[in-house]
């Protein structure tokens, strides 16, 4: 049996290598910083024959997702990637992918939204797509990006719902780190070829996405809502089987650190949640029983797993890298409060917004913020 290979790669490279390992068939792509290096790398792999796929250069993100939808409806395994305003430009077609029950997998490299322009990470772009009917992972390391793209294809194709794999621009996408690449035969065992139950086929003409009357439309929407919730056990199963095959584990719906006896729990996603592990160590050295709960799955929101994981009477410090406009604070805090309401009345939730537009979030700063929140 072949051993895993360790290479140095950026988060963007990790994504491209996962796309190659997943034996993707079609990749429509349009560049946008900081995502561009993914699409460039995949285009190069197609050009030099490393990846036997069709690369479709398009004139914008709306078309990129439209091409992804069409290719997926024709039965292909499809990948694309975007960031920030590119993702917003796709918004309408995101609904077509989910409503059409097409298992497209897309990386969104998180970047703050125009206006004014920024190039650096926050999470307004992905969280603004909450209601598009996509499953969303948020990753906190290069390795997790690689692992999650493979898990995402598996979940998407099991339940016919598109999956967005999010990670921070620059802090992950342009960060060079060691990357463990499992042998291809192991990945093939984890992710068998895509065999859709249905596909558009000129030899067997059928129509797709007709106008429906309300009696037909409503059950489709109910089914989508139910099936998104039903993705939770599939996400867990994919993480567990990926671990059984490769030995690698990033958490399933959630990831935790020093949580068991924690009185103060940091709650955040993406690269800041990795850095927070160091903040937790600092707080523990100061005598504060701190821990971390990172929702790896943002949508469906893993409410049950969070409810079960939080220690009794914990103070939860939600660190949001986004704004929940119209409410004070951020989106994750709102999601968490909604999940806990009436279920865990012992929990206190506090919230701060930070790191907007890529403002650096060093471990000491976040430890200080958490300590200050304890006194609020």
């Amino acid at each position: 049996m072949k051993a895993a290979e360790v290479v140095m790669g950026t988060g963007a490279r990790a994504a491209a290598l996962a796309v190659k390992s997943a034996r993707v068939d079609v990749v429509p792509g349009y560049p946008i910083t900081p995502q561009t290096s993914i699409i460039e790398a995949v285009a190069a792999m197609v050009e030099n024959g490393e990846l036997h796929a069709r690369f479709i250069p398009v004139e914008g993100e709306h078309s990129a997702m439209a091409a992804a939808v069409a290719a997926s409806a024709a039965g292909a395994r499809v990948f694309t990637a975007t960031s920030a305003n590119g993702l917003l430009y796709m918004h309408e077609v995101l609904h077509m992918a989910s409503g059409g029950r097409l298992p497209v997998v897309m990386c969104n490299v998180n970047r703050g939204i125009f206006a004014p322009w920024t190039l650096w990470a926050d999470h307004q772009d992905s969280m603004a797509q909450r209601d598009t009917g996509w499953i969303q992972y948020h990753c906190s390391s290069n390795q997790e990006v690689f692992n999650t793209i493979l898990q995402a294809f598996r979940v998407a194709e099991q339940i016919n719902i598109p999956v967005m794999v999010n990670f921070d621009g620059f802090a992950i996408s342009h960060c060079l780190m060691p990357l463990t690449l499992p042998p291809q035969e192991d990945i093939d065992r984890f992710l068998p070829p895509h065999e859709p139950e249905w596909r558009l086929d000129p030899a067997h003409p059928s129509s797709f996405s007709n106008v429906t009357n309300a009696e037909e439309y409503a059950p489709f929407r109910q089914m989508l809502s139910d099936d998104i919730m039903a993705a939770i056990p599939l996400v867990k199963q994919a993480a567990q089987e990926y671990k059984d095959i490769t030995g690698m584990w990033d958490g399933d719906t959630i990831d935790t650190y020093r949580l068991e006896d924690a009185e103060v729990v940091a709650f955040a996603v993406n690269s800041m949640a990795a850095e927070l592990k160091l903040s937790i160590d600092i707080l523990r050295q100061q005598g504060i029983k701190a821990g971390l709960l990172r929702p790896r799955l943002y949508l469906p929101f893993p409410a049950e797993d969070i409810i079960n994981a939080l220690p009794q009477n914990a103070q939860v410090m939600v660190l949001d890298r986004n704004y929940n406009f119209g409410h004070p604070g951020g989106i994750l805090a709102s999601e968490l409060k909604s999940a806990l309401f009436g279920r865990r009345n012992d929990i206190t939730v506090k919230n701060r917004v930070m790191g907007i537009g890529g403002i650096d979030l060093p471990r000491r700063f976040m430890a200080d913020e958490i300590r200050a929140m304890m006194d609020e």
Partner: protein, 179 residues
Amino acid sequence: MLELRINGFGGQGSVTLAHLLAQAALENGEQGQALPFFGVERRGAPVRAAVRMSSTTIHAHSQCELPDYVVVMSEKLTEAALSEGINEIGTVIINAPHAVPVKKHPTWQVDADTIAREAGLFSADGPFINIPLFGAVCRVLNIPQNVMEQTILNKWPGNGERNLDAAGKAYNTVKQINI
């Protein structure tokens, strides 16, 4: 975990230097991370990059606030680089043709410009100082010379001779300045 920050000017090859150092860490049996800060990418504008090395998984994804080492790619940047923060017992490595005194911090000096030019590593834009600086930083971090050389050979297979020459010369001539 060892933390290092590179302060340079756009066009001096800070990103490649950061990548080489992270790769050298892996070659040396450790974990390595290179996290350049990409700003408005203009030639001549001040740039910085974070590098980390550790025997265990690196979770940090911020720029280095208080690094253990600061690499100053041009002596003109010395004051600005230190003002961005350094561990109170941190070490400074400066590219300069002569000794640059830095208060309170152990300081190393290497003449990367001259070494690069003498090795034939230059273009119309100037010398490729990141290669000799890579050699110098490896020496200061006690990374074995053969690990440094292997990292260069991995990066430029079959085309590393002048790079090896320049990095090796810097490895052996970088010197600590007496305070």
